[in-house]
Amino acid sequence: MEIISHLVDGFGAALSIQNLIYCAIGCFVGTLIGLLPGLGPIATISLLLPLTYAMPNTGAIIMLAGIYYGAQYGDSVSAITMKIPHASSIIACIDGHKMHLQGRTGLALFTAGISSFIGGTVGFVVIVLFAPMLSDVAFLFGPPEYCMLMVLGFVCVSLVTTGSLLDGVAMAMIGVLLGAIGTDVNSGVMRYTMGFSFLADGIGVISIAIGCFGIAEIVANLDNKNTLTPFNGVIRLWPSWEDFKRIIPSALRGSVVGSILGLLPGGGPTMAQFGAYAVDKKFSRYRDEIGSGAIEGVAGQAAADEAAARTSFIPLMTIGIPENAVMALMLSALMLKGIAPGPQMILNHADLFWGLVASMWIGNIFLVILNVPLVKYWLSVFRIPYDVLFPCIIFFCAIGTFSINNNIDDIYITAAAGVLGYIFLKLGLEAAPLMLGFILGPMLEENFRRTLTISRGDFSVFVTQPISCVILAVVVSIVLVTAFKSMFFSEVKK
């Protein structure tokens, strides 16, 4: 009952005309900037953070949250239409972009919008019902548990990749190695920097994502002399009943995966999208179509993305730990407002906490109301001749890469990643496992080394810790099942 009364108060605060306007502005501006290739949630929030300085506390956080969700959606749009993702929309480049190439762009964007709504709603329910309880879950995870969780992520490569398993695993390892470039957090040693000081902070995920997906895709379009994308001016936005029946289960699966992974430090939307895709490839009735423009490839990712974006507020608000760069920005916004997130936050700033929770769902409704009718305007960009469009995309990629750290060297890294991405494309290698390895690699290494240091080099710690042991058992069973299936099928083929 207490939760309901808090929630009613929260909706009372969020539904004030002033806060509704802040929420709507946040969603719209966030989507608009998130649409630009290369400018994802991190860049968008950091750009618009100063706008909130003069606002009241609740309004400022509500607007920032709106910007975050809007940028997440806008990001999916650029990934689906131009194959230029940000960290949280890498998976949308696979099936979403293939749907676009098949002339089903409107449907892909609608699916992303409606699945985001479903994911956001599930994330909202999870926060309302379990926020105080779930904050304790993060404390149950130590280095061995995280290490095993990352290993589980790598095993999911076998489910993410649509090509050869060997190539998928190798690409993930290349991602891990690229992630090792920069200063080693444990010893402070600069690794593989070749004397370049700009590599001391490592390679940015945006540079790799834009290079391997965006630049490589533009060059492939030029190679094929594609004068225009398949958008032909006809937009079929609404899905058929058959499409709906495919969207809902996938979006629900993605929502559950996203809600869980959103809670874990280092997780969040980036990891959730890979998890949702892997689960769909394993459990969807249409799993054989995933990877070739299946609607599930968009629905699961978009739902997981939004659900994780919401539940990732739980560790921030309840234990004061930002689990990713976006949440770190949110933390700085809260600190600027004189609010210290932590166990006392729900008690001391109940109006803010529950106002934010309520605004999450209102923001979701705004996203659907604003974005679905605007899809045709987002798509009008493809009426521009490709000769004009591709230099513009490259310009936005360069600006997006540069604006993250105001560092011109990041553009050189993007160019190098573009060459690498083009080579991978020509060799028929997928960039998604590389991104998975690049994101998980540094976390895996850190937790692996921490575990060994704490256990004094004793590997049995992975078995003696109950949660770690359970995850290890899941990893082993996935490996065994995959190996058995490949052996069985090769026998059948013979």
């Binding site: 690794r191 310009f395 360069a398 083009y422 080579i423 020509k426 290494e445 080394r449 240091t453 590997f459």
Partner: protein, 140 residues
């Protein structure tokens, strides 16, 4: 060219770069792992996968796609030219260089279109700088 052979060689080259590079850092031991331990372990595993791919190449005849050097070269040079011109001159010069170089890959290159595009992108950069507050070195 055989796709499996080339991918295998690529994996081997990348693993060799990281393996040899890793030798200059400390390994220590499992009780106190050094900065070299993890990347060297991964590079050894990548080498094994590369060798497997090379071995598999003898059983397949799968070929790689056609590589058009001109397009990748113009796009990468356009980005690098943009970065160099922005660093040493300003972003207006960078945009001009970017549009000029990338126009070599256009299907129907046109000087007037390039001029209009340059002006348009400078206007967009101006809006980004002045309305959104992006820290762009538009002019010095």
């Amino acid at each position: 060219m055989n796709r499996k052979l080339l991918t295998g060689l690529l994996y081997i080259i990348i693993s060799a770069i990281f393996f040899i590079g890793g030798l200059s850092y400390q390994f220590n031991n499992f009780e106190n792992p050094g900065p070299a331990l993890f990347p060297v372990l991964i590079s050894v595993m990548l080498f094994v996968l590369g060798a497997t791919s090379v071995a598999q190449s003898f059983r397949t005849t799968e070929q790689i796609g056609v590589i058009h050097i001109k397009n990748i070269a113009t796009i990468v040079l356009g980005l690098v030219g943009f970065a160099v011109a922005t660093e040493y001159l300003d972003m207006v010069a960078g945009i001009t260089v970017l549009v000029a170089i990338t126009s070599f890959s256009a299907l129907t290159p046109s000087l007037s279109q390039n001029i209009k595009l340059t002006i348009g992108l400078v206007a967009v950069a101006f809006v980004f700088k002045n309305l959104l507050g992006l820290n762009l070195p538009l002019w010095k």
